[in-house]
């Protein structure tokens, strides 16, 4: 964005100063820690036991804040009442799950005992399908175009990437501003002589814009991954295809597409995992509304676990467990795709 030369000068000046102070203080701290803690420690326990102390901080945080909660989640899902402390929660067995799964017709959330759960599930499924499809198509097209012979590729690549850095709250507020009743879009519509739309208070429009906005904010990320995949296809492949007299359609079908397939799968699964967890944007964009039209799974968990006046931690945890199950399956697929890719 800035002129390369100015950037270099700024960086050099800053870099020299910061670098000097940083490396000096780093050395001081590192050797100080060695003298006070780690050298005596190594003398005490021996060299071979040192790695345990290196993993210890990570392992501790990880155990307390990731592993333990996973196990505790089961405790909440099988107990009831709004108490946070597990000891005060009476055993409920599979009651929470039963409540969630009591439905006259699973396709109609209104017929369910806990209607918001199925509504959020069906909203999420709908959102995931449209969003992932749109995301994969748009980022694929963009990556292919960016991979073509174009001027200022670096610039255009970063253009698509810019919204990825914006926080979800900023993204949501930005679009709410544009889509509100007397916002930019309605201004354009009325300028064209069309009637204005209730983009935020009509359920169909709200759902539509949720898909568009999350695609807008994340497509740069997937475009980058796909672009990297495209650029790793050796140019000899294209040359060979040309020599064999293949036209562009054949080249795409027989060379680009198959070679890009693993990356495309990774992108699909990654965006699936991300889409299932949609929360931040919708929280500030519609707050789940109108009604519960854009209420998704994580918001259901948040609502029952934290924000509703009568907390239903059992329901929240049961929903969490079900969602975790889906995510575990998706991640296993992703990891095995990664392995194949390497």
């Amino acid at each position: 964005m800035l002129n390369e030369k100015t950037k270099k000068n700024i960086f050099q000046l800053l870099g020299d100063w910061v670098g000097f102070f940083f490396s000096r203080s780093y050395d001081l701290i590192a050797s100080g820690l060695d003298r006070i803690i780690f050298d005596p420690l190594q003398r005490l326990v021996g060299m071979l036991r040192m790695p345990y102390f290196f993993v210890l901080p990570n392992l501790l945080v990880f155990t307390v804040f990731s592993l333990l909660p996973v196990l505790l989640n089961f405790g909440y899902a099988f107990t009831k009442d709004p108490n946070l402390f597990l000891a005060d929660r009476p055993w409920a067995g599979v009651e929470s799950f039963k409540q969630i799964f009591t439905c006259a017709n699973f396709l109609d959330p209104n017929s369910c005992l806990v209607d918001l759960f199925w509504r959020s599930v069906s909203n999420t499924v709908q959102f995931v399908i449209f969003q992932v499809a749109l995301m994969v198509i748009v980022s694929m097209v963009t990556a292919l175009i960016l991979n073509g012979k174009i001027k200022a590729r670096g610039f255009f690549r970063s253009v698509y990437f810019y919204p990825v850095l914006l926080s979800p709250i900023v993204v949501a507020l930005l679009w709410r501003w544009i889509l509100q009743e007397n916002g930019l879009f309605n201004g354009v519509l009325s300028g064209l002589g069309l009637s204005t739309q209730a983009f935020l208070t009509n359920s169909t429009w709200a759902r539509f814009w949720m898909v568009m906005i999350s695609t807008w904010s994340n497509m740069g990320f997937y475009t980058l991954i796909l672009l990297a995949g495209l650029q790793s296809i050796p140019t000899e492949m294209y040359d060979a295809a040309k020599m064999d007299g293949a036209d562009r359609l054949q080249t795409f079908k027989n060379i680009v597409f198959p070679l890009l397939m693993p990356t495309l799968l990774v992108v699909t699964v990654l965006s699936l995992i991300r889409a299932v967890q949609v929360f931040d944007i919708v929280y500030a964009f519609t707050g789940g509304g109108p009604g519960s039209a854009t209420m998704y799974l994580v918001q259901y968990i948040y609502l029952n676990g934290f924000s509703s006046p009568i907390k239903q931690l059992g329901l929240a945890s049961a929903a969490s467990l079900l969602m975790a199950g889906v995510l575990v399956i998706l991640t296993i697929i992703q990891l095995s795709l990664r392995k194949e890719e390497v």
Binding site: N58, V61, F65, V70, L174, N186, Y238, Q277, G305
Partner: protein, 349 residues
């Protein structure tokens, strides 16, 4: 269909300028408009006055109505171009009654002129006023939220780098009992994002008495398996001979870590640092749950709360949103190359 595919897959240039080239640049131009346009619109809007904000249809530039101080009136009076008997006069409005407006000529304030409001045209000029920002900062606690966000981001990033690089060092350069199991379990929790362990994680924070503390926001995020994995992969490429040589020279294991491995792994550490800053700056769900006191909010939580309570004061919300996106935009301007290559090579976000 064939033409679409061939359009999308051109890789070698032709001599002639072709239809597909035009389409390519149209697509890219639209991309610039769609990606930057909304942000640009937001920035323009953040300078607008309250009355300009609710104006429909909206205008691109932030206009402000001219006003004038007239002797005998305490307030500034808004200026209008008024059509009277085919003549256009520049008058100041005193007040409005129904569709009638009472105006005076600033040069001759004693005589009141009556006019129909449909003959009034406001006198305006483009004004990038900072009023919204000033008022917003005053009513929004911006300084406090910014401070909290900076503390969370900086502390969490430093701790993330330390904790994960130590673990990555142990898991890449040593074979010890349980190392495989530890590694596998950590990779397994890649599958468990915060959003599915909210309730029990909140219980643990409560038991530790970390509710409504920034520590409670920071600590649970620092052991990120993705970061550890990235660093470990990088450290595997550092030759073991270096370590053996240092050991022969009598260096302790800590010195090997701190003064050989860490400097050599600095490219990977830099990538993780940039990511960690982005993650923590933009985090929302977990801070939302841990923090309930207004003076502990991070920028994101504060902004979300602000828009909830001031539903109509868009001008202030917009100004605060612009302030919130400034740091990220600066990072983008300076570091976009390293970020984009970082993502392209590691595939993480």
């Amino acid at each position: 269909m064939g033409s679409i595919i061939s359009f999308l897959t051109r890789t070698r240039g032709r001599k002639k300028f072709h239809m597909t080239d035009i389409l390519t640049y149209v697509y890219l131009g639209l991309g610039v408009l769609i990606m930057f346009g909304p942000v640009f619109w937001l920035i323009m809007s953040s300078f607008k006055t309250q009355s300009e904000i609710i104006r429909f249809p909206p205008r691109f530039l932030p206009y402000k109505q001219d006003s004038i101080q007239v002797v005998g009136y305490d307030n500034l009076l808004p200026l209008y171009d008024v059509k009277i008997d085919g003549q256009v006069l520049r008058l100041a409005e005193i007040n409005r009654i129904g569709i009638g407006s009472r105006l005076i000529d600033p040069k001759n304030p004693s005589q009141v002129i009556d006019a129909n409001i449909k003959d009034l045209k406001p006198v305006e000029h483009v004004d990038f006023s900072l009023d919204n920002f000033k008022e917003g900062i005053a009513s929004f606690n911006f300084g406090v939220y910014l401070k909290n966000s900076v503390i969370v981001t900086v502390v969490a990033t430093v701790l993330t780098l330390i904790v994960n690089s130590m673990a990555a060092f142990a898991l890449s350069k040593y074979k010890f009992k349980g190392s495989k199991a530890i590694f596998l379990v950590m990779i397994a929790t890649l599958m468990v994002p915060t959003s599915v362990i909210l309730v029990p994680e909140f219980l643990i924070i409560t038991k530790l008495n970390w509710n409504n503390t920034l520590i409670g926001v920071i600590i649970p995020t620092i052991a990120t398996p993705t970061g550890m994995f990235l660093l470990r992969q990088y450290m595997l490429t550092i030759p073991d001979e270096l370590i053996d040589a240092a050991r022969i020279d009598g260096a302790s294991e800590w010195r090997i870590y701190a003064q050989i491995i860490v400097p050599l792994a600095s490219p990977a550490l830099a990538v993780l640092a940039i990511f960690s800053v982005m993650w923590r700056w933009n985090d929302f769900l977990w801070p939302l749950i841990v923090l309930t006191h207004n003076n502990l909010f991070t920028l994101q939580v504060g902004l979300a709360a602000f828009q909830g309570e001031l539903n109509v004061q868009w001008n202030l919300i917009l100004a605060m949103t612009v302030l919130t996106l400034i740091p990220v935009t600066l990072i983008f301007a300076f570091l976009q190359r390293s970020i984009t290559t970082g993502i392209a090579t590691t595939g993480m976000k």
